[in-house]
Symmetry: C2
Subunit: 113 residues, 2 copies
DNA sequence: ACCTACATATTGGCTACCAATACATAGCAC
DNA sequence: GTGCTATGTATTGGTAGCCAATATGTAGGT
């Protein structure tokens, strides 16, 4: 699955990937891929601008790290980021519930009309 | 919830709304809204072009209906439409599973690494 | 006369993705 | 010593698929 159907849910994925501790962009991409059993393949052209945006929004804080001659930009959740992650999870549940009740009414029954 | 987060899942919603029998566009919009407990408010600018596209794709068949002086365009699923609906449901389950396992790993555990 | 509900359709705009590209370090294979 | 792959960050241009707004018309209520 490419990132396209992910539209609108990317921020939650990135925030969730950082919940257990700071990671750099490339590691976030592989973490998301692994956690989703290889299903979600985010692109750098999607992820890096998004991380930048989340930092500008105050949800992430970044710092440069050096490994030998290589440099990495490490992102960590801020307190606001943790709150935003909680909000994303709530929104996700509402979203899946809404779509699910239309797509699969038998699995998410409404009260009898 | 506006239709924007629905991006990429609209076709499934429309097909699902038609599963129990033919409906016209306006009725589809209200059906989706009711089934989702008022959460999903699709717009005519979203729905009518989508119905048109689904008909061109052979997933729907439309016919004009008259109620007094009013005219309605009634859409019904074709066989290909039913198959597409089944595919949309499969895709939806894969999608929610993938996002869910990243967003809420505790709720969708992976095998221990 | 005016408002709301019902009903279909089109226009223009924007957002958030994508693919492609660029650049650099590092290690392995041949 | 050349090339391939993995690691790592970043930007560019394109586009799909939503949105809001608008247009048009019937029907019924106040």
């Amino acid at each position: 699955m490419r990132g396209d159907p992910v539209r609108g849910h990317l921020d939650g994925l990135l925030l969730a990937a950082l919940e257990d501790g700071p990671l750099h962009g490339y590691a976030i991409i592989t973490a998301v891929q692994q956690r989703s059993a290889g299903t979600l393949e985010l692109r750098t052209g999607t992820v890096y601008p998004a991380l930048n945006r989340l930092e500008r929004a105050g949800l992430l804080r970044s710092s440069w790290e050096s490994v030998g001659e290589r440099r990495r930009r490490c992102y960590a959740l801020t307190d606001a980021g943790r709150r935003a992650l909680a909000d994303e999870r709530t929104a996700w549940r509402e979203f899946t519930s809404a779509i699910g009740s239309v797509l699969d009414p038998a699995r998410a029954p409404r009260p009898a009309t």
